[in-house]
């Protein structure tokens, strides 16, 4: 397992400039969770309605460097299950673009 | 047969009146007819009275209501005669076909009905040919013969082909089913 120093060198996937309260723990948590990804990986993030959601993707701005989706309050997991299913199906049908299919 | 023929089936949930109506639709469809086969959905518990319908025509059928003035009524379970007004709305010149061991005369009296009555002992036929109570096959044959919705010889060829398909894994039951069909065609009897 990499140590903190190594992790801090990883790609930043969640940028500043969002409107979360100064000192809020949530952006930090997001940053660190996204460090679980390797730098060449891409993610889709499903976000329930809430502070993190309204403050980080206020049209036309976004703090998310990966694909990010918000639909409603109670269904972030259900939404994501559909995205995952689409990924599997597109992969099975060989319809993903090359940059993703690897 | 150019005109629309409307048939109403009375049975009990679990006895296959709905399946029989769908089978009739299927054999008529196979001879190039326009068909409808649909049940009246209600509480479908085993044994509850159920109604199913067929429309069969040479022309496309657009009407989508239930059938209130049928040309034929088929009663798959004769105990229904006491509780359900099976002949309600039956067209003049129409007929009732009842699955029973009784004679058409007896049924006619029980129904208190003046039109044509036909009976077929589907229980006896199916138990003797198929070894169990499967009334659908003999009932279907009787209905084809009495309603004339399709020619009997066409029906015989078609039903044999469909038995062969359906029982591809147990071909020995095909002749038994055909026997049930042929006996029903012979044994259905009427009283005008």
């Amino acid at each position: 397992m990499p140590n903190l120093k190594e992790l801090s060198k990883k790609k930043v996937r969640f940028t500043g400039g969002h409107r979360m309260c100064a000192g809020c723990g949530a952006p930090m948590v997001v940053n660190w969770i996204l460090k679980a990804l390797d730098d060449d990986e891409r993610a889709v993030i499903s976000n329930a309605t809430g502070c993190l959601e309204v403050s980080t993707c206020l049209y036309p701005y976004t703090s998310w460097k990966d694909s990010w989706v918000h639909t409603a309050f109670e269904n972030a997991a259900a939404t994501c299950s559909g995205t995952e299913a689409a990924f599997k199906a597109l992969k099975k049908k060989d319809l993903l673009m090359e940059s993703i299919s690897s | 047969m150019g005109k629309l023929v409307e048939i109403r089936w009375h049975g009990r949930g679990g006895q296959g009146a709905k399946t029989a109506s769908l089978l009739l639709a299927e054999v008529a469809f196979n001879t190039g007819k326009y068909i409808q086969g649909f049940p009246e959905y209600g509480p479908e518990r085993m044994g509850a009275p159920i109604t199913a319908y067929n429309r069969i025509s040479d022309e496309p059928i657009t009407i989508h209501s239930n059938i209130y003035e049928p040309d034929y009524v088929v009663v798959v379970d004769e105990t229904l005669i006491k509780s359900v007004p099976v002949t309600a709305g039956l067209k003049e010149g129409g007929a009732v076909i009842v699955n029973t061991a009784k004679s058409p005369e007896e049924i006619k009296k029980e129904l208190n009905f003046n039109g044509k009555v036909y009976t077929i002992d589907a229980r006896k036929i199916s138990e003797e040919t198929l070894g169990a109570y499967f009334p659908n096959t003999p009932m279907l044959a009787a209905v084809v013969k009495i309603t004339g919705v399709i020619p009997v010889d066409v029906f015989l060829n078609d039903i044999e082909a469909s038995f062969k398909h359906k029982f591809a894994n147990k071909p020995h039951v095909v002749p038994k089913n055909m026997e049930a069909v042929k006996r029903a065609l012979e044994e259905v009897k009427g009283n005008e």
């Binding site: 891409r42 889709v44 499903s46 959601e53 309204v54 403050s55 993707c57 206020l58 049209y59 036309p60 976004t62 998310w64 460097k65 990966d66 694909s67 990010w68 989706v69 918000h70 639909t71 409603a72 269904n75 259900a78 939404t79 994501c80 299950s81 559909g82 995205t83 995952e84 299913a85 689409a86 990924f87 599997k88 199906a89 597109l90 099975k92 049908k93 319809l95 993903l96 673009m97 940059s99 993703i100 | 769908l22 639709a25 299927e26 469809f29 326009y34 068909i35 409808q36 086969g37 649909f38 049940p39 959905y41 496309p60 059928i61 657009t62 009407i63 989508h64 209501s65 239930n66 209130y68």
Partner: protein, 392 residues
């Protein structure tokens, strides 16, 4: 080559879905729609389609998963009815406003309460302003044809909206009738293998979808959504023309039946139109000038075209298989009368709420509607708001 088959409406829809071979189906069963996901999950289990089937725990989750899949760039289908559609409500609006093409087969069933499993149109009429395109069909054939066209309509670059394909519960969903099915190859060619998504979660570049949209942008986005619905009118006709070339079956915004010289007309949706055609034929045989308009496209609503089609009649009865409890008629009535205002004025326009909760609609009832219309033409006396076939 087209195949002549006998199928129930639900079978026709499930087979149509199989031929379309969508990327994702996320569904939850509800009578009388259950057979659709049931048959389809068999196709998935047998490897007859490449679709990922997501078995969810509610219709809300079904629609959420569909949105997640469509946002990813997948081609998505599902099915529901009645309370199931009601539970999707929140997500219907979200999916439409995210401009995600999806196809939802709805077997129309009465909304609770009281609970009732039979047909009326209260479910989809309730969802009429959710931003979904709504296509309605009289028969299993039309449900099948609408389903295949719906894929192309929703995915069109000028539209990018989800589509409901509605047909009557039990009356159409469970009745076996004749229809013609296209070959698998023909369907594949018609709908194409891949949905062209202009942007997607799983696409060239990362995207953020579903942002907070405040007063300085929200309105513009809604305006664009409204424009997409307008664009859908043109696209619906283009796709219908293409489909007609393939099948010989003609589709438009609505079907006009014996309207040329009609004095009295009925406007109606779904299977009752078939029963009413039977009545029109009988009345025509008696020399009565009657006609019928069957609405196929309810959203977008073909207001100008409908007014044009009604401009020569003397009296129109609009039949609603849903009440809106507005104390001013049902939803179709409100639309039709408003469409006629200023375009086809001076007509008698009446409303009949009928068939709620699966009350069977008979030829006698429809004859009565035409009789009422002729009576109104002769005497000038009539009720605007009527209930048909109910015990008062």
């Amino acid at each position: 080559m087209a195949k002549r088959v006998s199928l129930s409406g639900n079978e026709a829809v499930a087979f149509g879905m199989k031929q379309i071979n969508p990327d994702v189906v996320a569904a939850f069963p509800i009578t009388p729609s259950t057979e659709v996901p049931q048959y389809f999950s068999q196709f998935v289990a047998n490897g007859e389609v490449d679709t990922e089937f997501v078995a969810v725990e509610s219709e809300h989750s079904a629609m959420s998963a569909c949105i997640g899949a469509a946002a990813a760039g997948g081609r998505v289908m599902t099915a529901t009815a009645s309370a199931g559609l009601a539970l999707m409500w929140e997500m219907l609006y979200v999916g439409a406003s995210m401009r995600l093409p999806m196809v939802l087969a709805v077997t129309n069933r009465a909304l609770s309460g009281p609970i009732n499993i039979h047909n009326d149109h209260s479910d989809t009429m309730g969802a009429r302003d959710s931003g979904w395109i709504q296509l309605y069909g009289e028969s299993a054939q039309e449900a099948y044809d609408n389903l295949i066209q719906a894929i192309r309509i929703g995915e069109h670059k000028d539209v990018q909206l989800p589509v409901m394909v509605c047909y009557d519960g039990f009356i159409t969903s469970h009745a076996v009738e004749n229809l013609e099915m296209l070959d698998d190859e023909e369907v594949k060619k018609f709908v194409g293998v891949k949905r062209e998504a202009p942007f997607a979660l799983i696409g060239q570049d990362p995207v953020s979808m579903g942002p907070l949209d405040l007063p300085n942008h929200y309105f513009e986005h809604k305006r664009l959504q409204a424009e997409a619905m307008k664009n859908a009118k043109k696209v619906i006709l283009e796709i219908a023309a293409e489909y007609e070339k393939l099948t010989g079956r003609k589709y438009g915004f609505f079907e006009e039946y014996k309207m040329e010289d009609a004095e009295a007309a009925i406007v109606v949706i779904n299977s009752t139109a078939g029963t009413a055609k039977f009545v029109v034929d009988n009345l025509r045989a008696q020399g009565k000038k009657v006609g019928l308009i069957k609405i196929r496209v309810f959203r977008p609503f073909p207001a100008e075209e409908l007014a044009e089609a009604l401009k020569n009649v003397k009296a129109v009865a609009v039949m609603d298989k849903a009440d809106s409890f507005s104390a001013a008629g049902g939803p179709l009535f409100a639309e039709v009368r408003s469409a006629m205002y200023g375009r086809a004025d001076g007509k008698i326009v009446t409303n009949y709420i009928y068939g709620l909760g699966g009350r069977d609609v008979t030829t006698t009832q429809i004859e009565k509607v035409y009789a009422d219309l002729f009576n109104a033409i002769e005497t000038g006396k009539y009720e605007v708001y009527n209930y048909l076939g109910v015990r008062e």
